[in-house]
């Protein structure tokens, strides 16, 4: 999908108007951001927004996240184990200490 985020009042107004007039192309709208369908018309709308508001709009092309392909096994397994922990009040760092699960700070520093 095409993710459009606006960074000025005028750009937000244009995005809102575009979403109102082209509902068929809008997947979701959240205030100053929207997800547009990945159709040529979605591209047409995003190109217009970029043309009018230049860098006051950020446009990203999104892809579904596949945790089996996009995340290292250790990261995925740590997440699953942490969500299944016995005590809901254990912070992750304490949970991970002394196990093979990766350290939160390390994970923050590593790009996917």
């Amino acid at each position: 999908m095409l993710l459009v985020v606006t960074y000025s009042r005028r750009a937000r107004e244009t995005l809102r108007n575009a979403c109102r007039s082209h509902e068929e192309t809008v997947v979701r709208q959240f205030g100053r951001a929207a997800l547009l369908r990945e159709t040529e018309y979605g591209a047409f709308l995003t190109c217009r927004l970029r043309e009018r508001h230049a860098e006051d709009v950020q446009i990203e092309r999104t892809a579904p996240f596949n945790e089996f392909a996009d995340a290292p096994d250790a990261v995925r397994e740590a997440a699953v184990a942490y969500e299944r922990r016995d005590s809901p009040y254990t912070p992750y760092d304490r949970f991970a200490a002394g196990t093979d699960h990766p350290d939160a700070a390390e994970m923050r520093g590593r790009e996917l």
């Binding site: 960074y7 000025s8 009042r9 937000r12 100053r32 230049a54 860098e55 006051d56 950020q58």
Partner: protein
């Protein structure tokens, strides 16, 4: 309420206020043109009326031209009265502070043209690489086929093989160049994207401040309107006890509000009133009394 002002028409005719009646004049001095001259001040073009009078307050744009079918954005007009009266609201200090932060905020510029050029270059380098990759695959197939042909006929067409090999090696060289360019273009684009993302943090701050300013302005307008609301209601009650429903019409309600606002607002400059409105108020003198400001009847 000194009321001294002058109106000079393009043909040289001059009028002096407080009350000027232009009902019988030619259309090029229509009330609209006079109202524009009151707002615009001097100098004006020679073919337009000229007005010598103090410049109007911000309320003037709401009630500067009173016709039976006038329409008025009541709350905005009331807020304007509050501004013209210099009323303070609890939001003023915060609004000042946020506006100052907004002015002081420096938002790094993102060179849009540069970023666009980098996107285009990366896209072109990408498609050129793809094109050459396909060409190399095709030529590789052709070389293999020529070699097979040579082997199967037994006599071996060395020239055909050599020619195919030369094309392949040229295409391979081009592909290598294109790949290098693609890497360079992608890196350049990545660098610029990262810079643009950082610059967006400041835009984010600016955006929040702008929203805050707008919310505070709205709150301030509401407070100003609330502050003058009782006076406007009083004026409207006085008006209605004075004129009853003499000024009926589709905009009757708006007109009563506009007349009430005009009566209590500091206007400073002359206003334009339709003859029917002036008549409803009881004639020019009564109208002048009501508005407390000089008047053009037209």
């Amino acid at each position: 309420m000194t009321g001294t002002w002058t109106l000079r028409l393009p043909d040289g005719t001059e009028f002096a206020g407080p009350v000027v009646d232009v009902r019988d004049l030619a259309t090029d001095s229509a009330p609209g043109a006079i109202r524009r001259a009151i707002r615009g001040g001097c100098p004006t073009r020679p073919d337009r009326p000229t007005v010598h009078a103090p410049l109007p307050t911000c309320v003037h744009s709401h009630v500067g031209h009173l016709e039976p079918d006038v329409s008025i954005d009541r709350r905005t007009a009331l807020a304007a009265v509050g501004v013209a009266r210099g009323i303070d609201t609890p939001h003023d200090a915060e609004l000042d502070r946020v506006q100052r932060s907004l002015r002081d905020l420096s938002v790094p510029t993102i060179d849009d043209a540069e970023l666009r050029a980098a996107r285009r270059r990366a896209a072109e380098a990408g498609s050129e690489t793809e094109r050459l990759r396909e060409r190399v695959a095709t030529l590789r197939g052709r070389v293999a086929a020529r070699r097979d042909d040579g082997d199967s006929d037994g006599d071996g067409d060395d020239d055909a093989v050599a020619e195919a090999e030369a094309s392949l090696s040229e295409a391979t060289r081009q592909l290598s160049e294109a790949s290098t360019e693609r890497v360079a273009a992608t890196q350049r684009l990545d660098t610029l994207e990262v810079r643009a993302r950082r610059a967006r943090d400041a835009r984010e701050d600016r955006f929040r401040l702008e929203d805050r300013v707008e919310n505070l302005r709205r709150a301030r307008r509401a407070a100003l309107a609330d502050a003058v609301e009782p006076d406007v209601q009083d004026a409207r009650a006085r008006l209605e006890s004075m004129i009853g429903d003499r000024v009926a019409g589709p905009g009757g309600n708006d007109l009563h509000d506009a007349l009430a606002v005009a009566a209590i607002a500091p206007l400073r400059a002359p206003i334009v009133a339709d003859p029917d409105v002036v008549a409803a108020l009881g004639g020019p003198d009564a109208a002048f009394e009501w508005f407390g400001t000089p008047l053009v009847i037209g």
